[in-house]
Subunit: 151 residues, 4 copies
């Protein structure tokens, strides 16, 4: 039976520590961590998941594995540029945002559009109708509880 998939989105080197904790907590809970496959928050979340013995998938924008971080078990090469943000959002049973800029906002919007539970770990994008959490632990628990509630 397939494990729950949780997409961790975001960017910004100052958010890597918390992203790594989010990844570790998800890995400990048996969740597969899905990301956009590149650096900073994406790399940190994957690193954290691997440290906890978890499984990681990166969904890359380019036409090759170039730019993929080293903590990915599986790499999906989409070739569709920023439109891969839709796939990152859609592939999560829940989505957790850690930091991030415009690409992250697009992913939050797509996740809401598709009805995926989304949690923004503070500080981060403030969007009306999107849940927030103060700590990595709270973000993970909130995201997973929403998946369970929706199932």
């Amino acid at each position: 039976m397939r494990g729950l998939q949780v997409s961790v989105i975001g960017s910004g080197p100052e958010h890597e520590g918390r992203a790594e904790t989010v990844g570790r907590l998800l890995g400990e809970r048996g969740c597969v961590v899905v990301t956009g496959g590149r650096g900073e928050v994406m790399a940190a979340a994957a690193r954290g998941a691997k440290a906890a013995g978890g499984t990681t998938i990166g969904i890359l924008p380019g036409e090759s594995r170039a730019g993929a971080n080293e903590w990915l078990d599986h790499v999906v090469v989409t070739g569709i540029g920023h439109a891969r943000n839709l796939a990152v959002a859609a592939s999560g049973d829940a989505v957790i945002a850690v930091g991030g800029s415009w690409g992250t906002l697009a992913e939050i919007a797509f996740a809401k559009l598709l009805g995926r539970p989304v949690v923004v770990l503070e500080p981060g994008w403030e969007v009306e109708g999107v849940a927030r959490a103060a700590t990595p632990e709270e973000a993970v628990e909130l995201a997973l509880s929403r998946v369970r509630a929706g199932a």
Copy 2:
């Protein structure tokens, strides 16, 4: 010489009147109006542009013209679902948002990600770093002035 292309994004029947005015103002200024090609705000903006003798392009999410509104001169059928929002944002020299929900937020985010000038016509999504306008006239003037400033 190709005319300026301005993408008008959004949704919500209550915003159609202002969207039609935005479309008309753009048509009067010789701009091509680009939209997602469907109903409500998208249809109203195209209708306004056509009333002013302008040209309209709809970028559809599906695999056929199904759901296209009747005020489109040209229809691009993308087949890529919500990922067509990236194309709508990217195809505008500027982007004006009128109302709208999550799909509109994704388009605002993509437009900013790609460096396109974006104006939200109030009321509408409040996003840090995105310009706002109180009236259709102000939205159009602001959007066009930003294109000229960037050119």
Copy 3:
């Protein structure tokens, strides 16, 4: 009322002359010529259409107008790389292939997948189940007759 849209696909500098004739014939018949917006066959088809007073649309793979040819009335910037080949195929009421390599084959396949009439102008990809024409005139007549038959 919107004119018929015909996508002209292909590549290869040795095919430009015939692509230009295809574009001209389509323009003379009031068809809008849709292409992938770049050079060689795409540019030649658009050039021919403009010489006949026609309208042209280019559907670009990148995130900006970079690489667009100069004979396009309207440019759709998709940002999705080679996946824009799906949009080029889907946006034609019919598709005519002139020369071309792997990207063209992908477009032929997508056009067939979506039920669009496809004509390969000889020489060109030989694909079982895809119609062929010996001259630009024959390619255009065959493509348009298949659209009418399907309508």
Copy 4:
């Protein structure tokens, strides 16, 4: 260290037996089997890989897991329809085609466009420049040898 990923593409219930063998052989060799995630050849290849203890990834066209087969360890939900064929082709270090129709031809074309080794298991699409194999064993060996040669 990430295992080699091989995409198995195709369709047609009459090809399921050979697709399952291809999947099993890939699983035995430690390859991750990537498919479009749905039925027939895609399901059979994944089933074969799981029977051999392998890992499977499905790259789905829709906006949810609807239509996913039951032999997938990980599911990527792209939301981009047939454009996901680009991702299926691009995500393989090599691509093996078993049966298939127009969507498969698009994947073969994209794989060649991106420089991925492609092998068609006979009978199947005959495309100039694409290698062919008479048996599942030969198809797998040829595909893997080409990856090694290219590395």
